[in-house]
Amino acid sequence: MKKGNPVISTEHAAQRAALLHDPKIRAILYQIAVLGIVGLLGYYLFSNTTENLKRQSIATGFGFLHKEASFEIGESLIPYSAADTYIRALLVGALNTIKVAFVGIILTIILGTFLGIARLSKNWLVSKLAAVYIEVMQDIPILLQLFFWYSFFYDILPSPGEALEPLTGVFMSNRGLVFAVPEWRPAYLYMAMAFIAGCIAVYFMRRWARKRQERTGQIFPVLTLSLAIMIGLPLTTWLLAGAPHQMSVPELVGFNFKGGLNMSPEFAALLLGLVLYTAAFVAEIVRAGIQAIGKGQTEAAMAIGLKPGQVLSLVILPQALRVIIPPLTSQMLNLTKNSSLAVAIGFPDFVSVASTTINQTGQAIEGISLIMVVYLCFSLLTSLFMNWYNKKMTLVER
């Protein structure tokens, strides 16, 4: 009896120790601890917040979205007035963000590719100039660049009366950037439709051509024909519609320009800053992508008898794009996120409309969550695209 007890208790203790040393059980314990800590922290913050909100009598919930916004927005893609609701104001902001991001991404890719190729040029002068541009732009904060371009428009450029005209039809003044665009004709709509139809036709033609090549081994001149369809179809539509070519040229009427396409100084400064900054990063990506493809690839492709065009489209580009596209998409996302700095120079993007909303309603939690949700949607879309692309592009090793 006397001896029994300690034996049982040591056995018991050993069992308990074994239980604690079981990795599975320990993992569960750790996770409970982590969840507990996170939960407690969340609860602490939540209870503080509700108490503070109650004390300062701040309203909660998204009810304010349907109230009258009663502030003007400088530029908008959809009709908007101060009498509209907050939700419409926020939509205007979101559309402005998308506008800046869309135009910015296209221009950035063009300029970045150009700079990346210039960096690899055999011409010493061009290569060094591109290198200097890339280094300098990467090392100066984007916000400082935005301030610089903003002051460039407001402090340096003259009034519309003495507007600079760097290219014919393009006027720069402290009222923004104005340039000539073709005057609107329904023919352009038909051209756009013809272009889309052409793209669809090309897509099916390529599929058919690939199948035929796999079956018979005959190569179909896909590239030439695709280009012909995509350019030729809209061009014929334009000719058939009577080849309208009137331009809407900006003219000085009173104190400002009439006609043409007008970009506000805020928009122009934001676009210029974002494009010039991001293009430096894109140039580095493009350069790395091209350099990643060894010389051996080109030589091998030529050795098996491919023509220069085929070397590029079948061997070099597919490999280079695999290296380029992932970091490129993340740069595009960066550009979209950086467009939120519009708030610092007074362009009404989503963040700036949301911050006006916060100031007016005092409902900071809802406002900031809205900002976060909108940007998370952008990055979610980007990462969905990335996953799709990576899946499509993974090397199939045989």
């Binding site: 040029s121 300098v136 990467q138 904060p141 708030v343 911050s355 900031i368």
Partner: protein, 363 residues
């Protein structure tokens, strides 16, 4: 015999031909090789001719360096006088004027610490302690209140010291958090993994400015009644939370690069998780990720300029407020170029260093 011997001597005397490139040949080989390149060179030269002389004239020849704002208005060139006239405010912000030597000494200390760290021979155990001691001393110098130094409230801090503090201190504080998040993301425990992934992706998905807004407006709501934290510390917290997510991703890359054998070998030695990570995995992984970490430091340094938007007086905001002064209004290109130069020198030396390190570490 003699003939062949002579020949022999002659062939022995011949050396591999040395390619001598004179200035002209160099120009021909690098600027005018082919029609296209020649045209490109000419076009570029013309462009440079159009841009450089007028700029040099504006910036150097017609410029004023030490004059009053009124004299500047009359001049046609750049008015660099805006810099010397306001340099103390631009660099130190609202820090009490007679105490400017303290942030100045702190900056010098930081720069010498950085220069000391450049040499990899100095990276040993005491290195971390030197940095911690250095940062503490800088903090005491800025804040005062000890050793007979007049206390200076942190809401008076501004200018370059603020920029440096937000970025360097942010980086130091974010690093341990980032490493923990990276380890958590690689963990096999689903709850820990999910929390870490959620945190990292959430932070990386939103712009820094939304976090700074949060620090300005929401943090006060999160804290219990009566507890207030000043604006600079709140912004610093936002920057730390933001940077940690990016560090986590970089460190994760390093962890993935360590081969499985290392993990297995460490396990077979009977080391527990903490020992495995601390002694085997992290030292190797963190070494690999030094260059991208410097990259994060550079972007953190540039990103601190965003605190302008929540009205903190960093070096960009002090410059902007000088420009808001009626007598200096309109000289923004000069002022912005000066600030850009500060940022450029800092970022360029860091990125140069990171490139050199990358080469040395063969990564």
């Amino acid at each position: 015999m003699t003939k062949s011997g002579k020949n022999h001597i002659q062939t022995e005397g011949l050396k591999a031909p040395v390619i001598r490139i004179g200035a002209l040949q160099w120009i021909k080989a690098n600027l005018f090789n082919g029609v296209f390149n020649s045209i490109l060179t000419l076009v570029t030269l013309f462009f440079l001719y159009k841009v450089i002389p007028p700029f040099a004239r504006w910036a150097l020849i017609d410029s004023l360096w030490l004059s009053s704002a009124e004299q500047c208005r009359a001049a046609s060139g750049a008015c660099w006088s805006i810099i010397p006239a306001n340099i103390r405010f631009i660099i130190f912000g609202f820090y009490p004027h007679e105490l400017h030597w303290r942030p100045f000494v702190a900056i010098i200390m930081l720069v010498s610490l950085l220069l000391y760290s450049k040499n990899r021979d100095h990276w040993n155990k005491s290195f971390g302690y030197i940095w911690i001691a250095g940062l503490l001393t800088m903090g005491i110098l800025m804040k005062g209140g000890l050793f007979g130094l007049t206390p200076v409230e942190s809401d008076q801090w501004g200018g370059l010291p603020l920029t440096l503090m937000l970025s360097f201190f942010g980086m130091f504080a974010a690093y341990p958090l980032g490493v923990l998040l990276a380890l958590g993301r690689r963990s096999k425990m689903p709850a820990v993994k999910t929390i870490c992934i959620l945190y990292i992706e959430l932070i990386r998905g939103v712009p820094l400015i939304s976090l700074l807004f949060m620090s300005a407006v929401l943090f006060p709501l999160f804290l219990p009644e009566g507890l207030t934290v000043n604006k600079i510390i709140r912004a610093q917290a936002a920057i730390i939370l933001f940077t940690a997510a990016y560090i986590a991703e970089v460190v994760r890359g390093g962890l993935q690069a360590i081969t499985r054998g290392q993990y297995e070998a460490a396990e077979s030695l009977g080391l527990n998780y903490v020992q495995r990570m601390r002694l085997i995995i992290l030292p190797q992984a963190l070494k690999i990720v030094i260059p991208p970490t410097v990259g994060i430091l550079i972007s953190a340094f540039k990103d601190t300029s965003l605190v302008v938007i929540i009205a903190l007086y960093d070096v960009l905001k002090t410059t902007k407020s000088v420009l808001a002064n009626p007598s200096w209004m309109g000289f923004s290109p000069e002022a912005y170029l000066f600030v850009a130069l500060i940022y450029f020198v800092c970022c360029f030396s860091m990125s140069n260093y990171s490139r050199r390190l990358e080469k040395e570490l063969h990564t």
